[in-house]
Every structure is written in structure tokens, then in C-alpha cells.
């Protein structure tokens, strides 16, 4: 690993582990939200390996999220409440599903590919609500029950008695901060893996796919296995994220598989910066923050925020901004997304980049090594990340 990447990784580890403390002042330090940051960060990192590197825009990744969730809950019911087998199986099944869907969808590229993934996402969603209800329990969602077999737990002598169990990792409960740290460790591992993929020859080939598939073919490279591999890897990341969703909240519902839910991870990746290392995680964090914090704003909070204004102006500002917060946070998100796609297609990472360059050129200083590695080091020598 290059020195820049190592510093980046260490800073990342520190930031994640200290997140409850760092994010407390902005009201984001509580476990539920932190878990969501980690889980959707994992989802977005995986999606970025496909979309950011190869340029293939999939609207179907929520299906893998759903598969991961259902797998995890079934593992809880059948085998053990321990999250480990649940997430392992969730990842594997996510990958398997991705092989099947990817094999078909990747026969086409560009917008045809996107529409194919859309079709599969909707198919999965519709089937989950109708025919597959024995597995998915349709609208109510798959839930735990006291009477679940849990064969592994029984074999190891663990009895949850008359209480509806929650997942625990060898005795450590998966709710609250321990739950977050479980997810955080996995986030760090996933981030590390993504660094390796980005910097590897495989990663370079994925970028070649995005750049010029024709030349790639005539260079003797078969592009199909490369795109399929990227698709499956992203599917596994999504499966893992889905499994973790169930670990922290053992209820699996089909609404996670709708294509608009796929849209959310697209938003996250692009908002943060597609094709960058940190971008997707930042995007996931921003969107989840919006979803939980922004959506809790109401007129009272807004009034306090605009307290410093004279009263009529205060009321005007409150009525304008109230459209954008609370229930209207989706509106803000959509508008923000449009602005990013129009003006800053490289996402927030591009924004930081531009800011950094405008400051360093003004002050005439060269970037310190650490500052440079907070953003991304170039994947290979030369070129933009």
C-alpha cells in the first residue's frame, strides 16, 4: 500500500471509531443513525465499484439489499441469533443473486443495461410481495418468532426462553453502540478492500471499461467477465449491507427492493463523488443525516434558527424553509441531487477538490501529504482518480 493510502486508511479508521464523539455536536452521535451511516456506507462503496469504475448504472441494487436482509432473518430463524452466520450467508446470497441477474443484464450496456436492471428490481419487488410470500411474508415483512428452530443455538445450548430474541455476537448485544461498532469494523474492512480494488490491475481494467470498451476488446481483454466481476462484488457488498440492516433491526421488508430504493444508493454515490474512494461514504452519511435530522426539523426548530431576524422576516424564512425540511426533506435531496449532476458531477469530493485548489493556489503552499491523502491519491500514476 502506498504511504498516502495508508494514511488515508488510518485517518478513516480513527474517524469511524471516534464517530460517536465527533458527530455528537451535530446531533448525529446516537447509535441508530451511526449504524445507518456504516451500513449504507458499505452499500455505497460496493455500488461505486460498479458505477464509479465501470460506468454501468444499475437501478437494481436494492434487490441485493433485500436478498441480504431476508437471508439474514432466515438465518436467525433457522440457525442462530449470532450475526456472523447471518451476514456471511447474506453476503454470499447477495453475490449469487448478482451472478444470475448480472449474467443477463450485462449482455447489454448503457441505457439498455440500466433498464434491464430496473426491470429485474421491479420483478423481484413484485414477486416478494406476491408469489414469494412464504419466504418473504409479503407486506408484513419477515419477523422473528419465539418458536424459530435456531438449530445452531440449540446445539450450543443457547436458549432464548420466552423472550423474542435480538441478535447478539457471542453475548454482546447488537443494538446500541456495540451494534454500531460491529458495523463499523465491517465498514473499515470493506473500505480497505475497496482501496485494494481501486489500486489493483483489476481496478485499472474496470476504468478501461468505462473509458473505451472497444479499444479494450481489441487489446485482447474480454470485457464481460470484468463487468460481471464488478457487478457481483457490488452485489456482495449490498448483500452484506442488507444483512447488517437485519442484524440491527430484525425485520425484513420488501419495500427495500423497489427500484426507487436503488435510486437512493445512486444518489449517495453521485452526491459524494462517483469513482472516488471516500465519496460514496460521505454521500451515504450526508443523505442519512438529512433523512434523520432534517426530517425531524419542524416549525418550532426553524423559528429558533431564524430567531435573530425581525419577526415578519422570520416568518417568511420559516415558511420558505419549512417546505424543504421535515416531510419535505426528499425535496431538498432531489434539488441537491440535480444541482450536483448539473454543476458538480464529481460530487462533493470534486467540490472539496476545487476548494482545496483555490486555497492552495492563493496561499502558494504545496499540499501537505496528509492533506492530499484525505482526498484520494491518484489510482495509478498520473490521471484523475
Amino acid at each position: 500500500m502506498t504511504r498516502k493510502d495508508l494514511i488515508l486508511l488510518i485517518c478513516f479508521i480513527v474517524a469511524v471509531l471516534a464517530a460517536p464523539v465527533i458527530l455528537e455536536p451535530v446531533g448525529a452521535g446516537y447509535p441508530d443513525l451511526l449504524q445507518k451511516f456504516a451500513i449504507f456506507g458499505i452499500f455505497a462503496i460496493g455500488f461505486n465499484i460498479l458505477f464509479g469504475l465501470t460506468g454501468y448504472l444499475s437501478f437494481g441494487h436494492a434487490a441485493f439489499l433485500g436478498v441480504g436482509s431476508y437471508t439474514a432473518v432466515w438465518t436467525f430463524k433457522l440457525f442462530s441469533m449470532n450475526p456472523l452466520p447471518a451476514i456471511i450467508l447474506a453476503t454470499l446470497l447477495g453475490g449469487l443473486f448478482a451472478v444470475l441477474i448480472g449474467f443477463i443484464c450485462l449482455r447489454r450496456s448503457g441505457i439498455y443495461f440500466s433498464i434491464l436492471t430496473l426491470a429485474f428490481a421491479q420483478m423481484s419487488y413484485n414477486l416478494a410481495y406476491s408469489v414469494l410470500t412464504p419466504i418473504t411474508n409479503g407486506e408484513t415483512g419477515l419477523q422473528l418468532a419465539q418458536s424459530d428452530p435456531r438449530v445452531l443455538d440449540v446445539a450450543f445450548g443457547r436458549d432464548y426462553g420466552a423472550v423474542l430474541p435480538s441478535s447478539d455476537f457471542f453475548g454482546m448485544t447488537m443494538t446500541g453502540y456495540p451494534g454500531f461498532y460491529f458495523c463499523a469494523v465491517l465498514l473499515i474492512v470493506c473500505f480497505f478492500l475497496s482501496i485494494r480494488i481501486f489500486r489493483s490491475p483489476f481496478g485499472m481494467m474496470l476504468r478501461a471499461v468505462k473509458s473505451n470498451q472497444n479499444r479494450m476488446n481489441y487489446t485482447g481483454l474480454n470485457t464481460r467477465p470484468y463487468t460481471l466481476a464488478a457487478f457481483v462484488i457490488s452485489g456482495m457488498y449490498a448483500g452484506l449491507a442488507g444483512g447488517l440492516l437485519a442484524v440491527t433491526d430484525p425485520l425484513a421488508g420488501a419495500e427495500r427492493m423497489q427500484w426507487t430504493a436503488s435510486g437512493e444508493v445512486v444518489l449517495m454515490t453521485i452526491l459524494g463523488g462517483a469513482g472516488t474512494l471516500l465519496g460514496p461514504i460521505i454521500g451515504a452519511g450526508v443523505i442519512k443525516y438529512f433523512e434523520n435530522i432534517f426530517s425531524a426539523f419542524n416549525d418550532g426548530i426553524l423559528m429558533k434558527a431564524f430567531d435573530f431576524l425581525p419577526e415578519t422576516l422570520q416568518h417568511v424564512m420559516v415558511s420558505i424553509s419549512s417546505v424543504f425540511v421535515g416531510e419535505g426533506w426528499h425535496l431538498t435531496l432531489g434539488a441537491l441531487f440535480m444541482l450536483i449532476v448539473i454543476f458538480l458531477p464529481g460530487g462533493l469530493m470534486e467540490g472539496f477538490d476545487r476548494l482545496r485548489h483555490s486555497f492552495s493556489s492563493r496561499s502558494g503552499n504545496d499540499d501537505s501529504e496528509v492533506a492530499a491523502s484525505v482526498k484520494d491519491a491518484p489510482p495509478v500514476t498520473g490521471g484523475r482518480p
Partner: protein
């Protein structure tokens, strides 16, 4: 035989909606080369035009009737819509026909929205890759959807069809089968006819006007048209406006069939894209043919006999067909070879 006829009829109104939306999508893609993920939102906006018109027409004035009393002994309130108060029976009729009347309001509004969209946003994305077009129109669809939701609320707002059309039509007698076997809601039949007329109007416009000829030429070969010195930009705006109006009107008339809610745009969008792909992305005729075909197929797939053999088939039939077509014949049923292959 009756059952088959009924299922065909069943699929025609939804097929009509798919066809109209897909027609606009195909027009925009074929002429402007833009993938418009906000097209479903235009359908939804049309529906909410109808909602607004009815709401406005239904604003009531309250008068007190001293001759009648409520349980508390106060004079009873009589609530009358202004329209009825001013225009009497004619007003009541107008209110009854609010949905068809909304067409008159919807045309200019949707045209305005379409032109604004094209001028303000879409034209900047002509040269940008399809993925970015999808993303920005997707964002726009969310924004439009949320604006509607914040204003109209999250619940569906039922819109009644005119009284005349509220009943059932005994289709059987019309085609000479026994009475009472094939009975079908009148408004849905009317919707089908409406969609046919609208589609016919679009095709007639494209075929019989000079403007239409230029558009068709542009769909076939945009570069040459530009080289011929024809100002294609203005025409693009008009084309987008027309597509928006078509989608909007489809939405207006659909309101009695499906109560409008802020989410309906997205719901119809996916299916409409699938229709366009099946029909062939550059083909208008394909979009229309595929729309009706898929609507009818979906209707057949929801027959109980079919569902017992293939459970759940009604949910996925359209997508399965799309997948098959995309794999076997990516240009679609009627697309031109080489377009996006």
C-alpha cells in the same frame, strides 16, 4: 370467448395510458436523444391539473337556511359550490364534467411546463451522456413529486368521472354477443377511445405538417437536418412541449380510473420505459403497439386460469417480456437496426 373479450377490454385503458406515456418518451428520445426519467412526473402533473380544476370549481359558499335546523338548534348550513350558485344547473353539469373540462386547462399548463423544462434543463443535457440525463431527470422527477406531495398531501385524491360515464357499458350487445356477458365500465372505454384519438392526432401532426416532417427527418438523421440549415432548437422545444401535453392529458383523463397520488408518476415510468424498449427506442409506432400489447398481456396474465398455472405471472409478465426482447432483439419490435445496438 366472453372472458377473452373482457380481458382484451381490460387491458385497453391501461394500455392506452402506457402508449401515451411511451409515445412521449419515444418522441423525446428519438428526436432529442434524451432519456427523460421525468416523463412519469408529467403524467402525474396532468392528473393533478384535474385535481386542481375540480378543487377550484368545488369551492363552496356557505349560506344559512333559516327554514331548517341542525340538532343544536342553529340554522343549517347549505354548502354550494360557487359554480352551481352562479350558473345553476349548468354549473352543476360543469362540475360533473370537471375531468374532461380539465383538458382545456391542462393543455396550456402542460405546454408551459414542458417548454420550461426543455428550455431550463433538458437542452443543456443534449450532448451529455445518457447516464447523466437519466440522473438529472430522475432528480427532477423526485423534486416534482415532492412538491406535489407537500401541496396535495400523501393520500390519493379520488376524481369522479362524469355521471353519464359512471355506469357500465354492455359491450356484448354492441358486438352481437348475448347481453350481460361482457360488461365494462364506460369511462374506461372512453379513455381508450380518447387515447386512440390523441395518438392519431400526434401521428397526423407528424405526417401532415411541415413541422412534423422536419421532426421525422430529425428522428431519422439529426445531423443532416442541422446541416440543411434548419433551426432544430426551436423545434426541439415544441416537440418536448407536445410530449409533455400528451403525457399530461393521459394523466388528466386517467384520474377517474386511478385516484391520483404523488407517486403515480414513478409507478408508470418504469412500465412506460419497458414499453418503449419493447417497441423499439426510436420507433413511435412501436411504442404505441407495445403499449397496448403489453397492457392486454398484463390483463390476460391476471386471469385466474393463468395465475393457477403460473402464479405471480401478472406481476412480472411485462418485465419478463422486456428482458426477453432486450436479449433477443435489442432494437425492439419495430426499432430501426443500429439504433442503440
Amino acid at each position: 370467448m366472453d372472458a377473452i373479450l373482457l380481458q382484451i377490454l381490460n387491458g385497453l385503458d391501461k394500455g392506452g395510458a402506457y402508449s401515451l406515456i411511451a409515445l412521449g418518451l419515444a418522441l423525446i428520445f428519438g428526436t432529442l436523444g434524451v432519456v427523460n426519467f421525468a416523463h412519469g412526473a408529467l403524467f402525474m402533473l396532468g392528473a393533478f391539473c384535474a385535481v386542481t380544476v375540480k378543487t377550484v370549481m368545488s369551492i363552496e359558499i356557505v349560506t344559512l337556511d333559516p327554514t331548517r335546523q341542525t340538532a343544536w338548534g342553529t340554522p343549517m348550513e347549505i354548502r354550494t359550490p360557487y359554480i352551481e350558485a352562479w350558473l345553476g344547473d349548468f354549473g352543476a353539469t360543469l362540475l360533473d364534467f370537471s375531468v374532461p373540462l380539465s383538458i382545456l386547462i391542462a393543455i396550456p399548463i402542460m405546454l408551459l411546463i414542458g417548454v420550461a423544462m426543455e428550455r431550463g434543463l433538458i437542452r443543456h443535457f443534449y450532448k451529455r451522456p445518457h447516464a447523466e440525463q437519466i440522473l438529472v431527470t430522475f432528480g427532477l422527477a423526485i423534486v416534482l413529486q415532492e412538491i406535489v406531495k407537500s401541496y396535495f398531501g400523501a393520500n390519493p385524491i379520488p376524481q369522479p368521472a362524469p355521471d353519464v360515464a359512471r355506469g357500465m357499458v354492455d359491450f356484448g350487445t354492441l358486438v352481437g354477443i348475448d347481453a350481460g356477458n361482457v360488461v365494462y365500465p364506460a369511462w374506461r372505454l372512453i379513455y381508450f377511445l380518447f387515447s386512440v384519438v390523441l395518438i392519431g392526432a400526434v401521428f397526423a401532426f407528424l405526417r401532415f405538417t411541415t413541422f412534423g416532417m422536419v421532426v421525422r427527418a430529425g428522428m431519422a438523421d439529426r445531423e443532416t437536418v442541422g446541416l440543411l440549415g434548419i433551426d432544430i432548437d426551436k423545434r426541439f422545444t415544441v416537440v418536448f412541449g407536445i410530449a409533455a401535453v400528451v403525457a399530461g392529458l393521459a394523466g388528466v383523463m386517467y384520474t377517474p380510473i386511478l385516484s391520483p397520488d404523488y407517486h403515480m408518476g414513478m409507478d408508470f415510468l418504469v412500465l412506460s420505459f419497458v414499453v418503449v424498449v419493447v417497441g423499439g427506442m426510436g420507433s413511435l409506432g412501436g411504442a404505441v403497439a407495445a403499449g397496448f400489447t403489453l397492457g392486454i398481456l398484463q390483463s390476460f396474465a391476471s386471469m385466474n386460469e393463468v395465475k393457477t398455472i403460473l402464479p405471480g405471472i401478472d406481476q412480472i409478465i411485462i418485465y419478463v417480456i422486456a428482458v426477453v426482447i432486450l436479449l433477443v432483439r435489442p432494437r425492439g419490435l419495430m426499432g430501426r437496426k443500429g439504433v442503440m445496438e
